[in-house]
Symmetry: C2
Subunit: 107 residues, 2 copies
C-alpha cells in the first residue's frame, strides 16, 4: 500500500459517521437512502461521506441503474491492519510491564 493510499484510508476513517456507515455495511450491502436513515444528517451530506469512502476504496457502488447498493471493500482496512501490526509490541509491552508491576506488588 503506497503512503498516499494509506493516508487516504486513515483520513476517510477519521470521522464517526463514516465509520458508522462502514459498520452498517458490515452486515450487508444496502441503498444510500437506507444507509442515511439512522443519521440525523441530509442525504447530500451522506452522499459526500460515501464519496470519501469510495475515493479511499473502502466501499463500492453497484452498477444497477435504479438501485446502486453500497458494499464494503476490506482491502484498505487490511493495509491499515498490516501497518499497525508493526507497533503491536509497544502496547503489549506496556501491558506486560503493568503485569510485572502488579506481581511485584503481591510479592
Amino acid at each position: 500500500m503506497t503512503p498516499d493510499r494509506l493516508s487516504a484510508t486513515f483520513a476517510a476513517l477519521a470521522d464517526p459517521t463514516r465509520r458508522a456507515i462502514l459498520a452498517r455495511l458490515a452486515s450487508g450491502e444496502t441503498s444510500v437512502s437506507e444507509l442515511a436513515a439512522p443519521f440525523d444528517i441530509s442525504l447530500p451530506a451522506v452522499s459526500k461521506h460515501l464519496k470519501v469512502l469510495e475515493g479511499a476504496g473502502l466501499i463500492e457502488r453497484g452498477r444497477e441503474a435504479q438501485w446502486r447498493p453500497c458494499r464494503l471493500r476490506a482491502g484498505p482496512l487490511k493495509g491499515i491492519a498490516d501497518w499497525i501490526e508493526h507497533y503491536r509490541r509497544f502496547w503489549e509491552e506496556s501491558f506486560d510491564r503493568l503485569d510485572e508491576h502488579l506481581l511485584d506488588g503481591d510479592a
Copy 2:
C-alpha cells in the same frame, strides 16, 4: 476509546510525515532536531506535526528543561487495532474466496 478520540488518532495518522516520525520513535526516544533531520521540511513544520501527534496521545514529550525527548505512546494505536479487528473476517473471506477460485481452477 470514544469516537472523537478514535477520529483524532485516525486524523493524526493520515499523513506520511507523521507516520514516519512514529516509525523513527519506534526505535527509541529522541530530540525534535534529531527527528527533523531526515525530513526536507522546516523545524516549525516538524513541531506542528509533533503537536498533532501529541494531541492525539501518540507521543509524549519529556519534562527535562534542556532536552525534551519525544517518545512513542502506543495506547491510541491499540484503540485502532481493536477497531479494525471487527473487519478482519472481510479481508480474510476475500482471500478464502480467492483460494477456492484457484483450487477450482486446478480441479
